[in-house]
């Protein structure tokens, strides 16, 4: 990173710290003024006469412009810059060597990225594993299996560090010693969701964390769709594991299609609301993932059928357990239903369910049993 770009990056960082400054407005104001430094100077200078105080940018209201002006006067650019340096957060602009995104094919690239962790630059091959935060045990299990398998084949796993599918895939890939890239919607020092704090720290230490938001940025709602487009841009293939009919992962799918990335979906039970989105994608012609090899083939890393890593479904269980296992669905069955289906005594069913759970054939999710 050259000295010139350093100062430029400092003003980019300061600009992104303004309220409501999304990637589109950032690109617009920088283009309007011919550079980040110029844009910042314009904001800090006294407003000239006329509407918007001389700052007329599409999509920016006069009141937002005046908010920017007052905030810009408070922000100390040098202090903000040294804070990023102290936290070992790199601030990258498209002119940097380590810029991870291929801007030529991106309809809507970021103007600045904040990153931390040893995996610099673009990682390839990379697969994004995305899905619902409110996932089923089945979904998380598939995400973990894929994450672990891809890691074993040297494929980088990109995801959003969210609860549910994202976290499950990244945790499994990390534990398998794989390379993991996380793209987050808040500042790199604002851990969200808190439940994934450990994963967040591990990715920062052994993989790479990317964000479009400077340190201290809150996880605002509108940042997540924007974050999803970066996930799509960083991956060669996007795999959707579970998504409800209107899930946020569908944003990632749209972004991936705009960037010519291959989108694949994991089929699920047609009765499960968490698989409605993915099953619909499959109907629309999206490539299905029935095993790890399907993803590897899409990456050009293998050919179908030569991988036997996906666990055989309906794995062998002892005779007395099989009957109970049969009564458990993939998308959740209550204990009472299992008792009713098997017709066995309550204590027997409870004992066998525990035995199946400790052998990982089923899992207890909020009091519902789901098959793995």
């Amino acid at each position: 990173m050259s000295a010139g770009s350093t100062s430029d990056a400092a003003f980019f960082a300061a600009l992104t710290a303004l309220p409501g400054m999304g990637p589109r407005r950032l690109a617009a104001i920088v283009e309007d003024r011919g550079g980040a430094l110029e844009a910042w100077t314009a904001l800090c200078s006294a407003p000239s006469a006329g509407p918007g105080g001389g700052l007329r940018i599409e999509g920016v209201s006069d009141s937002l412009a005046s908010q920017w002006r007052s905030k810009a006067r408070i922000i100390d650019v040098a202090e903000l810059w040294s804070r990023h340096g102290a936290a070992q957060v790199e601030v990258l602009t498209p002119s940097c060597d380590a810029w991870p995104i291929d801007d030529a094919f991106d309809p809507y690239p970021p103007s600045v990225l904040f990153g931390t962790g040893p995996l610099t630059g673009r990682q390839s091959p990379a697969v994004a594993i995305v899905g619902s935060r409110r996932s089923t045990h089945y979904g998380r299990n598939v995400a973990a299996t894929l994450g672990k398998g891809l890691a074993a084949h040297g494929v980088t796993v990109v995801s959003g560090l969210a609860a549910g599918i994202d976290g499950a895939a990244q945790r499994a890939a990390l534990d398998a010693g794989g390379r993991v890239v996380g793209v987050v919607g808040s500042g790199l020092d604002v851990v969200y969701p808190r439940s994934n704090a450990r994963l967040w720290a591990d990715v920062a230490e052994r993989g790479r964390l990317w964000s479009e938001t400077p340190l201290g940025g809150e996880p605002a709602r509108w940042r997540f769709p924007a974050r999803n487009r970066i996930i799509a841009a960083l991956a060669d293939v996007v795999v959707v594991v579970e998504s409800a009919a209107t899930g946020g992962s569908l944003h990632t799918v749209d972004a991936a299609l705009e960037r010519d990335r291959l989108v694949m979906a994991v089929p699920g039970p047609i009765t499960s609301p968490q698989s409605l989105g993915t099953n619909r994608l499959l109907v629309q012609g999206c490539a299905p993932v029935s095993e790890l090899a399907d993803v590897l083939v899409a990456l050009g890393l293998g050919h179908a059928g030569n991988e036997a890593q996906v666990p055989a479904h309906g794995a062998q269980v002892a005779g007395h357990l099989a009957e109970v296992l049969q009564a458990v669905d993939y998308d959740g069955t209550s204990t009472d239903t299992v008792i009713e289906r098997t017709g066995l005594d309550v204590s027997t069913v409870l004992s066998r369910l525990s035995e199946l759970a400790s052998a990982n054939h089923i899992a207890d999710v909020g009091g519902w049993w789901q098959r793995s």
């Binding site: 549910g164 209550s334 400790s358």
Partner: protein, 507 residues
């Protein structure tokens, strides 16, 4: 002249014997009560004056001082009225001093001279051992339940004086109603519960082993219905417990059923808006027992537990451990017994549908906040934590009715008998160090526990609780010998981890 009359007043749930000393002398006419009376007690002056005049007795034109000894203890309420009136009559020579020997007087006076009942007559009379106690005629039934006292009733001050001087006979004691003694209250019957095999088992185990029970489930799944049926499974209270329970209930003004001790375990179901004082006891003017003490030897049912103020729930931790609660206020402190079976029901999240993947309408933040309301140490007190699901519609409409409460109660009673043979009232009361002696495990069973500990599915403290539940299940089944792996697995399943039940958000 001086007269000393024995009486008693109520503090918390215990009676305090009080010596009422009445001194009448020449001087400027006046009437003063000293010895820490509260407002109701001080007003006795006006009631006594009117009652004496209505009864055709003389109000002395003398200087009268009434001292309530011990004078350092605060006296509350109107239970000393009769004693003050009698003392005044003796001090002014309208009644002979012999009538006071071996007698105590407890009751409130009306302005017309009627003797009225007071709250807590049973604990008050119980504190007056070895005397004959005169109480209002209508509370003779309750007062007579106290051991080691003779109780006499009086309807009015005039009647009392006539009985004391032998001019008239004491009124006859009220006739005691006869009826079936056992199961005079069992509430609702388990036969009405259709389906719900897991819930039924949990309720049975809770009653048999005295294990605190937490039921989670969506609205309309029958949590409350099940909880209301726990009381019907518990055995009758024994004499000692019945007296304890009756004392507490009588102290807060509950008249005892048909003049007998309370024999059925009480059920208390405080509303989730209840204050901490309402739950654990206290109060500014008088120390009153709270709901947890009213549930002593019975059931405290917290419906919609997630809606209780977290600080109130945390206050239950100490009594759950100690079996008693100590309340301290500026006027002193009181210890109320509070050994209860805690039965709680709540939704797994604010909308109630959490758990079933994809059905919940709450945001992650809402669910997180809801789950945070209950602390880990508090949830740890529950030996049984089960998820109750809505029964299938067919089961509700056409299902056969379940096993009736009477059959289940028989098994529960057998199980409790086995516990008492071991020296504990129920299995949940068994201390950790007795576990190896009374609840040994098979090798396989040990293996299962070790495995689950290693997987992090159970805590070290959880192990002991699971063992107790397994012992109760084994007792219910009438099994002998060490506890096997199957039983432990079942017990573990009845004690689901709260993290799985409450915040089923991602991983």
């Amino acid at each position: 002249m001086l007269a000393v009359v024995s009486s008693a007043t109520l503090s918390g749930i215990a009676g305090i014997p009080v010596r009422v000393e009445v001194h009448a002398s020449n001087g400027i006419p006046g009437f003063a009560i000293v010895g820490l009376p509260d407002a109701a007690c001080r007003e006795a002056r006006d009631r006594v004056r009117a009652a004496l005049m209505s009864s055709g007795l003389d109000w002395p034109g003398k200087r009268v001082t009434v001292n309530l000894a011990p004078s350092g203890v605060r006296k509350t309420g109107s239970s000393l009225d009769v004693a003050i009136a009698i003392g005044l009559l003796v001090a002014t020579d309208q009644l002979s001093v012999e009538t006071l020997a071996g007698r105590s007087f407890v009751g409130e006076l009306g302005l017309d001279g009627a003797i009225r009942p007071v709250n807590g007559i049973l604990p008050i009379v119980a504190s007056l051992v070895d005397t004959e106690v005169v109480v209002a005629q209508s509370s003779v039934g309750d007062a007579d339940l106290a051991p080691d006292v003779t109780v006499k009733g009086a309807r009015s001050l005039r009647g009392l004086i006539e009985a004391l001087t032998g001019e008239a006979a004491w009124p006859d004691p009220p006739t005691r109603a006869v009826g079936s003694r056992a199961m005079d209250f069992c509430g609702a019957d388990l036969a009405d519960v259709r389906g719900q095999p897991l819930g039924r088992l949990a309720v049975e185990v809770a009653a048999a082993g005295g294990h605190h029970l937490l039921m989670l489930g969506p609205p309309g799944s029958g949590k409350t219905m099940l909880a209301r049926r726990v009381a019907g499974l518990l055995p009758d209270l024994d004499d000692h417990a019945a007296l304890e329970v009756s004392l507490i209930h009588n102290a807060v003004g509950v008249s005892l059923p048909r003049g007998r001790l309370i024999r059925r375990p009480p059920v208390r179901a405080p509303h989730h808006g209840s204050s901490a004082v309402a739950l654990v006891g206290g109060g500014s003017a008088t120390l009153r027992p709270g709901e947890i003490s009213m549930a002593h030897r019975g059931i405290l049912f917290l419906d919609e537990m997630g809606e209780f103020a977290p600080s109130c729930l945390e206050m239950l931790r100490e009594p759950l451990e100690e079996g008693a609660i100590r309340v301290t206020r500026s006027q002193g402190s009181a210890t109320f017994p509070a050994e209860f079976l805690l039965v709680a029901a709540m939704n797994p999240c604010p909308c109630g549908e959490a758990g079933r993947p994809g059905w919940c309408r709450c945001s992650d933040r809402e669910r997180y906040r809801y789950g945070r309301r209950l602390s880990g140490p508090f949830l740890d007190r529950f030996d049984l934590r089960v998820l109750v699901q809505r029964p299938a519609p067919e089961a509700v409409v056409d299902g056969a009715s379940g096993e009736p409460s009477s059959d289940v109660a028989e098994r529960v009673a057998r199980c409790r008998t086995r516990s008492s043979e071991r020296g504990f009232e129920f299995n949940a009361a068994m201390p950790d160090d007795a576990m190896d002696e009374f609840a040994p495990l098979t090798q396989e069973g040990l293996g299962v526990l070790r495995e689950e500990l290693a997987r992090g599915c159970i805590s070290a403290r959880g192990v002991q609780r699971v063992r107790r539940v397994a012992l109760t299940m084994s007792d219910l089944a009438g099994a002998e010998g060490p506890i096997d792996a199957d039983r432990l697995r079942t017990a573990m399943n009845l004690r689901a981890e709260p993290s799985k039940l409450l915040a089923a958000v991602g991983q």
